[in-house]
Symmetry: C2
Subunit: 220 residues, 2 copies
Amino acid sequence: MNLTAAEENYLKAIYHLSDGASKSVSTNDIAAEMKTKPASVSDMLRKLGEKEVINYRKYYGVNITPEGKKLALQTIRKHRLWEVFLVEKLNFAWDEVHEVAEELEHIQSPLLIQRLDAFLNYPKFDPHGDPIPDEFGDVKARPRIPISEMEIDQSGQIVAVKDSSAAFLRYMDKVGAYIGARVKILDKVEFDGSVEILVDQKKSIFMSKDVASNILAVQS
Amino acid sequence: MNLTAAEENYLKAIYHLSDGASKSVSTNDIAAEMKTKPASVSDMLRKLGEKEVINYRKYYGVNITPEGKKLALQTIRKHRLWEVFLVEKLNFAWDEVHEVAEELEHIQSPLLIQRLDAFLNYPKFDPHGDPIPDEFGDVKARPRIPISEMEIDQSGQIVAVKDSSAAFLRYMDKVGAYIGARVKILDKVEFDGSVEILVDQKKSIFMSKDVASNILAVQS
DNA sequence: TTTTGGGTTTAGGTTAGTCTAAAAATAAGT
DNA sequence: ACTTATTTTTAGACTAACCTAAACCCAAAA
Ligand SMILES: [Mn+2]
Ligand SMILES: [Mn+2]
Ligand SMILES: [Mn+2]
Ligand SMILES: [Mn+2]
């Protein structure tokens, strides 16, 4: 099954919106995610349905098929490997890689990806802490929770960010939060859910619930 | 000036067919080079003419403009840098890189190319011996002649191949000819122009004029 | 159970890039 | 100079990916 770049982007969006499962996804949500109009989405869903990478019943949303999931994971694998390359080898900042990886992920060459993977020493996670699927599409999920859901006095380690936008990542840099940092919850404000955390046993950061919910950690 | 991938490919073809100068190029030749039909070429020439990267007078062929030449050289620069990356870093064979580089060259990111160039240590030549233009589009040409034009007993060093097709490159590998090899002309057959050469002072190779004209050397 | 409003699809149009077939322009041969 | 032959362009169609505007579906509220 050969997909165009646009089809790959849509399929990836559908995969993400279904949270990796085969949960049903709506036309409007896809349009929002893809920054296109619902009419364009309907058009694309018909095509993806014909290619049997999604199950499409008009007016009832779509579910990704096992075949579609495999293809989406291949694209995600490529995206994340390229991100690792850009950061590790070309010294890109983690907030500069997404757009370029969005283009690079569509290069068609199994050999290229196989060799890139080896060159990067088979990385398991991308610069944002997201797991890199293996060549068969297997992802080993790490248990992780938003620090907004951690309790006072609990400790953990930042392992990923939910929002990979440049704006959010630059905020992370600014306050000195990074993947791998050790954190401890110092205080939580009941009223609005904002939290105060201690980073690496020295720096205290105060952040809104919105921010805290985008920082993912493993507890320890 | 922003060009689409297709426009970049056409412009590159026109640049190559004009031998780097602003020599006039015909619709049919472009169609042959691009493996499209003349009708498609006419269409594209109109567009490229409007963007002023070529001078286009109907029925009289096209000339690349200085602006067009600069853009073509940018694409060529990217193509060749990626080829170096694939061979040097990802262990591709020199006959496996062209198709992939043909896709990678269209990735739009000045930062990416600048960083890639640095990562590769500012290479001056690609795996086929072709010079890599600098970021301003300057290429320093090396004097080089096909070994079919060398005289008996003359010596030199292989610096490039004119034909970068996988078939030709695999032939080069098979007979043990490579970029950097020292060669000496042992014999030339008047009748058909075929030649016998000595490679690295040990291996003698007999080849047709056609082959010999695709191997470029500097005399010494 | 009928109305109504939000979500979704269809209808019809646009641009890029390709094609075939036919027309037109230039170049070549007598 | 006139008639061919070759090259090139135009005309008309197709697919992919988008759009706007209009029609349509369906589920929740009246
Ligand atoms: Mn993409
Ligand atoms: Mn990422
Ligand atoms: Mn190309
Ligand atoms: Mn090359």
